[in-house]
Amino acid sequence: MVYTTSIFAATREVKGLVTSDGDNLPLIGASVFVSTDDLKKINHQKESIGVMTAIDGSFIINVPDGITRIYCSYLGHNQKEIKLGKETFYNIHLEPSSYELDNIVVTGYQNIERRKLTSAISKVKITDELIGNTHSIDQVLAGQIAGLSAVTSTGAPGAPVKIRIRGTSSINGTQDPLWVLDGLPLEGTDIPKMEELQDIDNIYNTSIAGINPNDIEDITVLKDAAATAIYGARAANGVIVITTKSGKKGKTQVSFSTKLSYTPNVNIDRLNLLNSDEKVQLEMDLLQSDYTYREEKGGVSQILQQYGQMEAFKNGGFNAISSDAQAAINRLRNTTTDWNDILFRDAFNQEYNLSISGGSDRATYYTSLGYYTEKGNVIGVDASRFNFTGKTTYKVNKHLKFGASVFANQMKNNSFLTDADSFSSPTYYSRRANPYQLVYDENHNYVYDDNVQGKGDDRNADFNIFEERANTSHENTSQSFKSLFDVELKINSMFKLTSQVGLQVDKSTIEKIADKDSYSIRKDKLRSIVNGASYLPDGGFHKQTDTESSQVTWKAMGEFRKNIRNEHEIEAMLGTEIRKTWYKSLYDAAYGYDRKTMQSKPILFPEESHSSMFPLSTISETENAYVSGFATFSYSFRHRYTLGASIRFDGSDLFGVDKKYRYLPLYSVSGLWRISSESFMNGIEWIDNLAIRASYGLQGNIDKNTSPKILGKYENRTILPGTTEEVISISSPPNEKLRWEKTHSSNIGFDFSVLNNRINLTGDYYFRKGVDLIGTQMLPLETGFSSTTINWASMKNQGVELSLNTHNIKMKNFDWHTTFNIAYNQNKILEISTPETQLTPSLRGYAVGSIFAYPFGGLDSEGYPLFITSAGNKVSAEEYFNIKTTENGSYASNLSVEERRNRYKYAGTTEPVWTGGFFNTFRIKRFEIGINCIFNLGHVVQTSPSYSPTLFDRGMNTNRDILNRWTPTNTNTVFPTLMPDDKRRADYYAYESLYVDRYLDLWVKKADYMRLQSIRVGYRLPESVLNIFKMTSGTISLEGRNLLVWAADYTNYLDPETMGNEYAQPIPKSVTLTLNLNF
């Protein structure tokens, strides 16, 4: 009966109006309340007193005597404390919380209140400022989140971004995170390997690229096992949850935005390519030297051969040859083709978005349209995207709610045919073609480049890149359709049932056409010569690949929530999910094709065996099914202690696998201690929040393509004429030993906010250990196979992530926010099975991206590289690799495998050790200035040598390092001499056959860089302008992207990020003008 006194405690009425600080509009449904702690202090019998604001933002609340403050909160705004004085009316302005953290975190399965969050989760609100000049959501994430690294693959239109969360977790399996759109885990988001991406021939449309960033409300990144365990096996690399915008109750809002951006042509001066004069001089010098490799190649050599002056030149030099030949060589010197200028261009991109949203008590809606078109810097390459999004929610009654959304898009990439094994990629070609090579002759006929060669072989088909661009096309059209249907049934305040059906269909068509006059078809014709003539019909080709992948996911969940006396909070969820995916592809080829008539001709194969070289039609189909059950549980005591747990069983259709291996339980446990809510912290006013989190979880993965039995595929084969039989072909060996790959993850973190949330600091330490990692191992060919999948390694990742948000200056006309995040990751392989045949060192004890190289000790007196032995002596390749003649007169290294491995020294890792970003936003009156920097530090890259000392091909262009090569007159250099094949044969063998020059540590470069990712100036239109057009708000902004980059050393390369591949398109610089209007 202690409380009885307070029953009669007097109350007073407090009135007020709540508005949003940004636009001064009233906030409807904001809650105004007295805190529980305050009530307790005065021994009030109620645990809570609170009201909601009405449609005009007004409220009336009865406050017990003794209470001196009330609180006001609204979603998306900072909670505010209002000290009560003598007044009875209070105007409360709530500040939008774009910089602070929201109170609800969406994990895709659950919405968790941030105060109960026990796991490592980061959330980014997607604003116009953040999107800037990017066109796809993966590009937006770069540098935003501690522990998430985003590396742009190339500067080509639509190029995907390689995203890694907390380092590399699997060595061979997919390393891409799982993407979830409004609760639906997306299919088709794995991006191909970097090497494939950097080939312009491969144009990709991932399903991420199809989502319009302007439709996205926020993104939540789930980093530790406690957060991801609920997603099961697919979440081993982290989860990125996309929440899209939805309509809000209130008047209809119309938003329009447009972006116009300009990307200037790449300046290739950094590449230091030889000009015509230098190239001609080099060729002449080489012809008089004893270096004879590909002597017949190059313009000078061709002229000398044509005039029959080769011998004269070799003996007597330039003055000894005929005046005709001299004149021709001089003409060559003065002919210049600026490949960069004629193959590349300035590009201009446009984007338009329109969205309409709004809602009533019963229903809300959000509809948007988006169109974007991008011209590549390569002439002939462009991309476009068209988006439609529709989202509605219906509230049938207070128990039942429905939601439906549709996301549809079409993407198109246009290019021309280039191919990996020749020089027909424009980026590659522009850097290897001779500066004096002509495109057209005086009669405007194509001039074929006969110095161009496919991968070192001597097969030659007429090639001219302008002809190729004009006469071929490569089109990738993809349509994607995702739709979601949600139901929520609130039985009472404790029980809730939700269910979601998601459908995703992605279709893509890749069409490749080559006309009769093109290198592409000439190459096919070369492959099909029988008795002196190609059996392919006259004309071009048309090849088309259609793929369709689709999934249906259904999930149902029951949630239980109970709050006992505001002391014990219990939440539990039980759910199930079933999923089925289909994949189908169809390839179709026609030869003798003519674009005008759209007709093709049959191929008359001289023999059945040839038909496999030119398949005309291929079909493949896969179907997979998954069933999962999952549960989560969370208990909080007095808002201070929270315990969480989750478990999930994943089952899938593993063919040929024992049923007991179908399910592996994945689970996590986690806890939270909110120190700031403890009574001993009561006096410390300046601390708003201090909490410590800890979690542990187990994740796992299995290789679906491995079976303990022989797993075969039906095929048809013809051995003898006229008899075709069905066979079972085996592509991978049976494997009884393969186990689940398991990852144990632990995380400890803290959240700390002080001075009214002006300073927020979040830190996490994680330790992740992967055991039984699945990898590929080379097999001796005597097994009949070249490789198999094994549990070959265990690896740990540990790291620290820090994220600091500060609101440095907060004045009426000047405002300054800073966000700084930094992550340190250390990766180490603990165990690894190294095949006894492996010639490179074992990775045990090193990071997965480690590079090993031979220590370079300068050049000897003949310009041959020297190697530093472990004893510190400098020796030749012959000695370093102990190269001896064999009984058949050739050469071989007499080192054992072990010794070969020990010749390498550790030279660094390719994965950045430190990653992060630094973002500053200033608001000065109506102007907003944003400066974003991102950095990646502590990694190295293995670049290719500028030229090979034994296989330098004088038919092609190269950078100026060749001019600085060792010669008897230029001995102070690190660039080796060009080695003739009849001199120092053992050394020659080392460079020509073992390619030892490629692995010199001379070519391993530091790859640290910091990039000024974006600098942006925005201007909010003043009311006077807004009123004229009846707008509620409007901004106009100018952004420069990738304008500057600071890096350790990237001589001869355009950008430190693409150093590994000198032929990749660099990350483009751009300037964008953006206009955002809201009505």
Binding site: Y626, Y714, G722, V727, P780, E782
Partner: protein, 447 residues
């Protein structure tokens, strides 16, 4: 609350019971072999994998001429370095001898042998036949490999000379060291013995006659013993074949070539010795080889095996699957003849040779040959046997191996004249042995 619990319970029950059925998807087109029919399909795939390396040896022996002016760049890239014996820095697209496929066939054979007892749904005879073929395949492939990549068999050094790895199980774990040549031959012979116990099909219908049959047991023995120099064994094995099948194609009157898959001589029509790409080399038949045949139409083989073109000859007896041939009656005659001679029965040798020539020569030429051969001494007769092997079995993957096992003084000198330069085989093929492919060496340090 109770209501809800029961709803959840029902849902989860439904889900878990439905699960296993839902997950039981047999992927379209994928299979785990269990039945005899499945294992037959597996064996067919193994046969299909059979490389043409035996035929490719034509390029390093004296059966190919690449000096034609019309040689296209593809042929230059693919074969020229092989033909010039350049195995130090050949062009990247040079065709080379196979390794992995031979062992992949052996893997399938081992799988079949190991699973003999668990094969379902087949008659005993059917299963025995499949297993017998697997033994034959293992024997034949090891035999080809040891002859490609190791020294020729020599009874004195066979136990100490390095052969090739013997793969006698389907394990993926071991890294094999090469066995000695003697061990490889012993294993080959033992596999043939095992095959003999299982095989029961004497003749496969045309179209399926790439498969091993009961006749092939002795046909293979005949060749193995010939290469080993066990003349009596060779002769006996050959005779056992000939006692069941001895019909030779009559080239004078007939149209089918003896090495065609549907010829009456065919025993096993497996290897495509001259693939269409090999065959495409412009005017590949050396004039020297063509001139060894009797001039004009006297030797029908010259007319039927080769086509005369302007400035040279191209090949008719190869270039398509129609001419798949691993064993045929003609070879057995020649094996028997050589074995008889070396076992000091020249008269048997003469009879066998003449039986063959009767079907190859015009009557007048045959009459002359009868006189000539019967007058020959042993040495001349041996030359004649070698010559007839060269002429009869040309482009069927025999010549290289015959040269290797010839007495040193009888071996032809292998040289090439190309663009003014002279190339000699000794420089890069010591002891006439092919280097093991680099990718095999990279994967197994013991090679």
């Amino acid at each position: 609350m109770k209501k809800l619990t029961s709803i959840l319970l029902i849902i989860s029950l439904l889900v878990t019971t439905g699960c296993d059925n839902f997950l039981d998807i047999t992927p379209t087109g994928r299979v785990i072999p269990e039945t005899a029919q499945d294992y037959r399909k597996l064996m067919t795939e193994a046969y299909y994998l059979m490389p043409s390396s035996r035929g490719l040896t034509a390029f390093i022996s004296d059966e190919i001429d690449m000096t034609s002016k019309n040689l296209d760049s593809y042929d230059k890239d693919t074969f020229l370095d092989l033909w010039l014996w350049n195995n130090v820095n050949p062009s990247g697209s040079t065709t080379y001898f196979d390794w992995e496929k031979y062992y992949k066939m052996i893997f399938i054979a081992n799988t079949v042998i190991e699973n003999e007892k668990s094969i379902t749904n087949g008659t005993e005879a059917e299963i025995n036949q499949i297993v017998g073929e697997a033994y034959m395949m293992r024997a034949y492939n090891h035999f080809i490999l040891v002859n490609l990549y190791a020294l020729p068999y020599n009874s004195e050094t066979a136990t100490s000379s390095t052969g090739i790895p013997l793969k006698l199980n389907s394990s993926m774990d071991e890294v094999l060291k090469p066995s000695s040549i003697a061990e490889v031959y012993a294993s080959v012979l033992s596999d043939i013995d095992n095959a003999e116990k299982k095989l029961n099909v004497e003749t496969w219908e045309t179209g399926l006659n790439y498969r091993f049959n009961t006749l092939s047991v002795d046909a293979l023995r005949s060749r193995v013993y010939l290469y080993m120099g066990r003349w009596e064994d060779c002769y006996n094995a050959s005779e056992r074949v000939l006692s069941k099948k001895n019909e030779l194609v009559d080239l004078v009157s007939g149209r089918t070539l003896p090495n065609a898959y549907n010829s009456s001589e065919s025993i096993v029509a497996l290897e495509m010795n001259m693939t269409s790409t090999y065959n495409n080399v412009d005017k590949l038949v050396p004039k020297a080889l063509y001139n060894l045949y009797l001039p004009g139409t006297q030797d029908q083989r010259a007319r039927k095996f080769y086509k005369t073109e302007v400035g040279g000859y191209s090949l008719i007896k190869g270039g398509s699957s129609e001419y798949r041939c691993s064993f045929r009656v003609g070879e057995i005659y020649l094996n028997a003849a050589e074995a008889a001679l070396k076992n000091h029965h020249p008269e048997i040798c003469k009879t066998l040779l003449l039986k063959l020539l009767e079907k190859r020569y015009q009557t007048a030429a045959y009459t002359q040959a009868e006189i000539d051969i019967n007058a020959m001494d042993d040495d001349a007769l041996l030359d004649e046997v070698y010559l007839q092997r060269q002429l009869e079995l040309s482009y069927e993957g025999h010549r290289w191996f015959d040269i290797r096992r010839m007495e040193k003084e009888k071996r032809p000198v292998l040289t090439r004249e190309y663009e003014g330069q002279t190339y000699r085989i000794e420089d890069n093929y010591p002891e006439l042995t092919i280097k093991i492919p680099d990718e095999a060496k990279e994967a197994n340090p013991y090679l």
